[in-house]
């Protein structure tokens, strides 16, 4: 009872040689297939290096090209040599020159000896494989592939398209149910012999020689016909990335590989000296009987694929600059925009900061300077308060700020006095929570003692700007959480909207607001609006303020903070 290895080698022959030597000296026969394309002197050197080992053989060489029948042919040739030359072996393990044994050979041998009739081969029907690249799964078996994918990609693709259009189909030989799976398997002598001695072998080989990537389907399909006991997994740890090419292991994966408890890993970077030294050392590894457990490595590589395909939301950087609509989140976390609150309430920012326990910015898009929380001139990520720098790229300013303060909710004020370029961006961002009190921009005008002619002009301008902003917020493209109140409605009952906003920002606190922000004095605001009207301007965004009426509920004193139980 023994296990023999069939090794397919084409590059890094020195590494292949040392791995073959490792197996051979541990009493495992090795049959090596060297790619026909390898130069003769290299092959000779390679063979000479292994000449002292009597249980190493070289089989007939084929010119191997990825995706074609030649690789399966090479494997078959190796298997045949192994079965005839080494009658003692019970399992044949197919490996590549870039494979590395991670556990002592004795453990593998013991593992297989306990399961003498089990074939370890990943073999899955085409309906169930999520990992085929390029959309070819079942069509691998029904189309023809005379052109090389590597060298004549265009021809390959066009011929596939043509066959699809003409609905040309190959007939799958009777008795075969197409299965796919990892190229690296470990099969029993019995199964391999029945496969090789099958009376229909010629038919199958002719069929598979025109199948796409037959090395992932020839044995995988035929074991289903011949094997009695299939364990559908590969003993070789081999991970593929989103392009379908194998992940490579380096020196820094040493601990990860050790803990994986897999028998063999591929593919190893040829210059990963530490890996080769560690795992080919005479008594490498701690003796254990654990089942292979590649979970950690799986996670590492699936994370890598995720990073490559989805990236980090809200990050714009040198190698991730998504097209509009592909950001997978325009910003990286939620933030709140308050419009009109700072005008209507005294020290609103301080109040909000206290209530939420965070820093609250002033008008980030103020035309003169960026009003960072606490009057800072420089902020997280070394963002600078210079208005020209911010206006040079207002989006980047916001996305940078949100990115640099990850984990801390950002709140800032906005209004018609600010630079408006960012409006569309925040309106289209699902992470934005925008709360607007329309017309509140009139309150500072009301308190200022400017001449009425100037005020009128200013008010008309601000109203126009805010109307434009509101049109954006109400457009069908808006994705932000938008709430809009007219000022008249808001002052009637300010606590309820505030409570709603706060609850949304910090849902877990579940606290009733105990202290309301102080509202500015609005005595005579109605008259002020009437005066504007009398001057010929129509202020409508603030809603209906009757002349002379007290805008606040009569039961509450306008100057004192009030409590809500």
């Amino acid at each position: 009872m023994s296990v023999g290895f069939v090794m397919l080698a084409h590059t890094a022959l020195d590494r292949a040689a040392s791995v073959a030597r490792h197996w051979a000296t541990h009493d495992c026969p090795v049959v090596i297939h060297v790619d026909r394309r390898v130069k003769r002197d290299q092959v000779q050197k390679f063979r000479a290096g292994l000449a002292d080992l009597e249980n190493v053989r070289f089989c007939r060489r084929y010119r191997c090209e990825w995706g074609t029948w030649s690789i399966a042919q090479a494997a078959i040739a190796g298997v045949q040599t192994a079965l005839t030359e080494f009658p003692e072996i019970n399992h044949v393990y197919l490996a590549s020159g870039a494979c590395l044994p991670l556990r002592p050979v004795e453990e593998l041998r013991a593992y297989l000896a306990e399961r003498p009739r089990t074939d370890f081969i990943e073999s899955v029907t085409t309906e169930d494989v999520p990992w085929t690249i390029g959309g070819l799964d079942h069509e691998r078996f029904t189309l023809r592939f005379p052109f090389s994918w590597k060298r004549h990609r265009k021809l390959f693709d066009r011929y596939v398209a043509l066959q699809r259009r003409l609905k040309v189909r190959r007939r799958i030989p009777d008795g075969l149910e197409p299965h796919l799976g990892s190229q690296w398997w470990c099969l029993t002598r019995r199964t391999l012999e029945t496969i090789l001695k099958d009376p229909d072998r010629d038919i199958y080989e002719r069929y598979f020689s025109r199948v796409w990537i037959p090395d992932e389907s020839y044995f995988q399909t035929l074991v289903r016909k011949h094997s009695g006991q299939i364990e559908s997994r590969s003993l070789t740890l081999s991970k593929f990335d989103f392009q379908g090419k194998p992940h490579i292991f380096y020196d820094d994966h040493l601990q990860l590989l050790r803990r994986s408890d897999c028998f063999v890993a591929r593919k190893i970077w040829p210059r990963a000296d530490r890996l080769y030294d560690a795992f080919l050392a005479p008594d490498a590894g701690i003796k254990n009987r654990a089942e292979p457990n590649p979970g950690k490595i799986d996670r590492l590589f699936s994370k890598a694929v995720d990073r490559r395909t989805r990236g980090r939301a809200g990050l714009y950087m040198q190698s991730r600059f998504p097209n509009e609509g592909w950001e997978n989140g325009r910003t990286c976390s939620r933030y709140s925009v308050f419009e009109g609150f700072a005008e209507l309430f005294v020290n609103f920012e301080t109040w909000l900061g206290k209530t939420l326990g965070t820093r609250v910015h002033g008008h980030l898009y103020h035309p003169d300077r960026v009003e960072f929380a606490g009057g800072e001139t420089i902020y997280n990520g070394a963002l600078c308060d210079s208005a020209p720098l911010r206006d040079y790229n207002p989006r980047a300013f916001l996305t940078n700020l949100i990115w640099a303060t990850r984990g801390e909710r950002q709140c800032f004020q906005f209004g018609p006095r600010d630079r408006q370029d960012i409006s569309w961006f925040i309106a289209g961002d699902p992470n934005a929570q925008i709360s607007v009190i329309t017309g509140a921009w009139a309150v500072p005008l009301f308190h200022s003692r400017q001449s009425f002619v100037d005020l009128r002009k200013r008010a008309a301008h601000l109203q126009r700007v805010e109307q434009g902003h509101l049109d954006i917020l109400r457009s069908p493209h808006t994705r932000a959480r938008v709430r809009i109140w007219s000022m008249a409605d808001f002052v009637q009952n300010p606590m309820e909207p505030l409570q709603t906003i706060i609850d949304e920002i910090a849902p877990r606190t579940q606290r009733r607001l105990s202290e309301a922000p102080t509202m500015v004095n609005l005595d005579g605001f109605g008259q002020f609006l009437q005066n504007l009207k009398n001057q010929g301007m129509q202020p409508y965004l603030m809603g209906d303020f009757p002349v002379g009426a007290d805008p606040l509920p009569p039961t509450r004193a306008p100057h004192k903070p009030y409590l809500v139980k």
Binding site: D252, W269, A304, R307, Q318, N380, A382, Y392, A396, W403
Partner: protein, 336 residues
């Protein structure tokens, strides 16, 4: 992109190639050891002037990384740079006294050298004050990266320039020969970079960092570009257009993902702000051999006279590449 603009770019590429061909005459051989280049060597291309003090560490840094050969153009140094480089066993050196500016800031010279010697190699084009960082650079040599890029059919690798600066006046601690410049200048700006897409060449145009913040806060459009593509698997038709910011053919500039994912990318740590900078910028004021009439250097001089401190309380202290990756300045992409 239409046929017309594609053809225009082609013409432009040919123009730079012809220019590089003409400018080859300006280069005089000092030491040529290009026979020693092995087929899978990563080559480093550099043009420099009076950088003697930086050289020992520069060479050591890239030798440790696994660079196989250095091809350098010395632009009229008079501080022993030439003599020092001529003695190095893995350096091939050319020299010229001609105008750096007229050679489009050295690009023509290097385009010639890469075309002649870089063919089929991974070529790393960096300045003497730029230190290349890539994912896993502390555990994997540069060949691991280039092998992986080859296997993934990637032809160019982006690395953004990150300006490093010391805490306190930039000339407070003098740099000693052989020392890592990042023992002194080990701070950087982590999150104030802005990106625009250059429609014409398809590359990203990145600005920001301490230079934009300290020197160009009023004229941000003039802030220097930080996007760079220093590592390219060179083929004969390739050419750098402006420094290493952009290449032609323009497919090489696509080092970023447009569909939400992250491609792998590195960084160039820029050790510009050492005590030598003060002398250099004074010299450049008179020499005027740098980009756009050295307006950058004029801006530096105006600011540095009064307050030569670039450090601020949100500056980030450099630790390693993993830190840069977490901050979102570079990415591992799908390399793991």
């Amino acid at each position: 992109m239409g046929v017309v603009s594609a053809y225009r770019l082609r013409l432009q590429r040919q123009r730079w190639r012809i220019r590089a061909f003409r400018k080859r005459r300006e280069l005089r051989k000092v030491a040529q050891r290009t026979d020693a280049i092995r087929p899978d060597d990563v080559l480093c291309f550099t043009t420099l002037r009076n950088e003697r003090i930086r050289l020992p560490y520069f060479l050591k840094y890239y030798r440790d990384m696994g660079v196989g050969h250095f091809l350098m153009v010395d632009n009229g140094s008079d501080d022993g740079t030439r003599e020092y480089l001529a003695e190095q066993p893995d350096v091939s050196l050319w020299t010229t006294d001609r105008s750096y500016k007229r050679a489009r800031f050295g690009v023509d010279w290097l385009n010639w050298l890469t075309r002649w010697y870089g063919k089929g190699h991974w070529c790393l084009t960096v300045d003497v004050d730029e230190f290349f960082i890539y994912p896993f650079c502390d555990t994997r040599p540069i060949n691991a990266l280039t092998d992986w890029l080859d296997a993934s059919s990637i032809k160019s690798f982006g690395a953004m320039l990150i300006d490093m600066y010391p805490k306190g006046p930039i000339d407070a601690v003098p740099y000693r020969e052989g020392q890592s410049p990042f023992e002194i200048a080990n701070w950087f700006d982590s999150g104030n970079y802005t990106i625009k897409k250059n429609k014409r060449f398809g590359n990203l145009w990145i600005q920001g960092g301490p230079r934009a913040r300290a020197f160009f806060a009023d004229r941000p459009e003039r802030a220097p570009a930080l996007n760079k593509i220093p590592l390219v698997k060179w083929r004969p038709g390739y050419t750098y257009v402006k420094s290493t910011h952009e290449l032609l053919p323009r497919g090489l500039n696509l080092v970023y993902d447009e569909w939400g994912g992250e491609k792998a990318s590195g960084a160039l740590l820029h050790a510009k702000f050492l005590h030598t900078f003060v002398e250099k910028s004074a010299e450049e004021m008179t020499r005027r051999q740098h980009y756009a009439n050295s307006h950058e250097y004029r801006a530096y001089n105006a600011v540095l006279k009064d307050d030569p401190d670039l450090w601020c309380k949100w500056s980030e202290k450099y630790i390693n590449w993993r830190q840069l990756e977490i901050l979102g300045l570079m990415s591992k992409g799908n390399w793991a």
